[in-house]
């Protein structure tokens, strides 16, 4: 299935080797064979990437593929097509499916279906607790053996501190992190948006920043106690960042991710009552967003993760209070982050690639995230000069994006997984590998 492929004339940006230069990339048998100047190879598909940027494939630590059980929202086939359309070569599939991924059979089903119909690599995330009920541990070692790369009850927190402690201890033996969804539902009390001026203005129940911060504080303390790795999912508040920084200084193994929508949007946007602005954690106020930007720039944040959460049109086409939390994000992540972070000079491009590829690989100890010789032939090709309007047409089955109608700069134009072209913007999804004439560099 893997083929040989030569990408020429590209600006290769690989932060894992501190590489940013005009180079060629040769992929053989699904692996990176060489990255060098003026490579020659015969019998290969040659892609002229003049004017384009080549990076290690993006890895999303936080994707809801919804299969099994909620195929009306998304499937492994459509979710992974959405992923490659956004430049992702691998996604980590969250456990809150129906039934949840709390036992080996479900993990194996996800892996088998991904191999059959997936467009990119899928790394399952198992549940921390049986049935995501927060009462007793799932069979964590069995989940690990079946192929889970982390465990999480994402969608809800692990309220029971003793269960969290035991899970952390147990996972340290298995060498996998616990991904913590941090909120205190008692503090939220039916909240649907960030608690602040705009929730007051709109008369909506608020989700205070403290809801996230108290739980992050608890979990970094438990990570210290157990000497285990906790990964904070979709971190959204200044106080949570401070807790992560302090814990790190004390030597605690804590990593964290932020989403593109928390970077780009604020709670003031909810004045439109669009249910595509409803997610959990909610869009926060300016001071929290500024803290996120600082944390991205200073290295506190390990990864940008989409929290791609597809919902059916009917489910979102209701009153704001009644709509489910969550937005899709795989296809807009790069454009949004390139616009808000690189074009607005918060960080340089290599740091963004680190957050989208190398950082995620490091955080969950995944293969990929690098173009070193011998590593996975997973490559994303980006066009930084393209401008495009986001419409409601997505490769995802869902269209609950908060960015519909916005104009973004920069997008993935080709996504290569294990040496196979899985997305090519000129022809749509997964084309048959035929040699192409000189590629035009500007659209």
């Amino acid at each position: 299935m893997s083929s040989n492929l030569l990408i020429t004339n590209a600006r290769v940006v690989d932060p894992s080797q501190e590489l940013d230069a005009k180079l060629d990339v040769l992929i053989e048998d699904g692996l990176v064979a060489r990255v060098d100047k003026k490579l020659k190879a015969s019998n290969v598909l040659t892609i002229d990437a003049d004017g384009l940027v080549v990076t290690p494939g993006f890895i999303d630590l936080h994707t809801h593929l919804r299969e099994p059980g909620q195929e009306h929202k998304e499937t492994i086939a459509t979710g992974t097509r959405s992923a490659v359309a956004g430049g992702y070569t691998a996604v980590c599939a969250m456990a809150n499916t129906v039934p949840p991924n709390d036992e080996r059979a479900v993990t194996e089903m996800i892996i088998a279906e991904s191999a059959r119909n997936g467009a990119c690599r899928v790394y399952p995330i198992g549940a921390v607790s049986r049935g995501l009920e927060g009462k007793e541990l799932a069979e964590l070692a069995d989940l690990r053996l079946a192929g889970c790369v982390a465990v999480s009850d994402d969608g809800k927190p692990v309220y029971n501190a003793q269960l969290m402690r035991r899970a952390l201890e147990y996972c340290s033996m298995l060498g996998m992190p616990i991904v913590a969804h941090e909120e205190d539902a008692n503090l939220n009390e039916g909240g649907v948006m960030h608690e602040g001026y705009f929730s007051t203005l709109l008369g909506m129940s608020g989700i205070p920043a403290a809801s996230e911060e108290t739980m992050v504080a608890r979990d970094v303390i438990l990570a210290a106690l157990t000497k285990s790795h906790v990964h904070i999912a979709h971190l959204s508040t200044a106080g949570a960042i401070a807790a992560v920084r302090n814990a790190r200084k004390a030597g605690v193994r804590v990593t964290c991710e932020v989403t593109p929508h928390h970077i780009a949007l604020g709670d003031d946007a909810v004045q439109s009552y669009s249910t595509n602005l409803k997610m959990n954690p909610p869009l926060r106020s300016t001071e929290h967003r500024e803290a996120l930007l600082t944390a991205i720039a200073d290295g506190t944040i390990d990864a940008i993760a989409t929290d791609h959460a597809p919902h059916h049109f009917d489910e979102k086409n209701v009153e704001f209070d009644l709509a489910p939390f969550g937005v899709i994000g795989l296809e807009t992540a790069f454009g949004v982050c390139y616009d808000r972070l690189v074009r607005e000079k918060v960080i340089a491009l290599p740091r963004l690639i680190d957050l989208l590829s190398c950082g995620p690989a490091r955080t969950f100890s995944l293969p990929g995230g690098t173009l070193r010789e011998g590593s996975l032939g997973d490559v994303t090709i980006l066009d930084l000069d393209t401008r495009y309007a986001v419409t409601n047409t997505f490769a995802s089955k869902a269209s609950n994006s908060p960015f519909i109608g916005e104009t973004l700069h920069g997008r993935a134009v080709m996504t290569i997984v294990g040496g196979a072209v899985k997305f090519d913007i000129r022809v749509g999804q997964a084309p048959s590998p035929v040699s192409r004439a000189k590629k035009k560099t500007k659209r």
């Binding site: 602040g196 007051t200 203005l201 009552y273 086409n317 009153e319």
Partner: protein, 315 residues
Amino acid sequence: MRTQASALRSRHLLGIEPLTPEEITLILDTAEGFKEVSERPVKKVPALRGQLVINLFMEPSTRTRVSFEIAEKRLSADTLNFAASGSAVEKGETLLDTAENLMAMAPDMIVIRHKHPGAPKMLADRLPASIINAGDGAHEHPTQALLDAFTIRERIGRLSGVNVSIIGDIAHSRVVRSNIHLLTKMKANVTLAAPPTLIPAEIERMGVRVVHSLDEAIEGADVVMMLRIQLERQGKLSFPSLREYYNTFGLTPERLRRAHKDAIVMHPGPMNRGVEIASDVADNAERSVILQQVTNGVAVRMAVLYLLGGAHVVE
């Protein structure tokens, strides 16, 4: 009246927030004319003849629904009352489907009361009818604020510079939000008083003063507006007991003495006597304007209906 017709920029009334001071004044001035209609032996004008107004009340309401219905009838509109109970809503029909089905019967205006904020805007974004917000969750209740302003203007003669103190469950009140928008736009001074548990985040940014003492709030007030304590919220940690609430924030005749000597007492209803207000205050004919508020509600709603609908057909 006709000389002022159709000066509202929007064909919907979704809240006070989008209105200009001139628009508010127009509605209040128009309402004065309609108040006179309500005092005639034949209390009816033909302004909305042939127009269909649907009152879509998805949440219990007595005062507001009845007031709108009377206003519509006095303007000669055809009216239809739709309540959530006993309708397809109980069978799981969504708000949008309900509204689109009603829309298929070609109403000119829909008056909506709904427990979720933003529901009126949701209809306004999608339907061709004029939408009037009769209260959406804790967001806005624009006609209540307009009738409150009408009553203040009637009794005190102006809105600018008037000291208005609003006391009670600020957090869950749509009335208070609409009143803050209206009163600050009209340059009145607004003070809010409640325990901190009933004050929502950053409400000072709306241009109001917040205190946690009833006496401090009432001191020198021209208008004392009491809000209903939502008894169904008891036990939700906002305050320990009704007894303690009455002792700390209940309006009694003694406490009212701190207000301006001609101060008026308002309440949007329904009242909980002995919880937020003593009967001696509520029934004090010199101070309490609670029933005038209800009377004025009809005139104000006639003005709103007329300016949004009637003004277009009565040339």
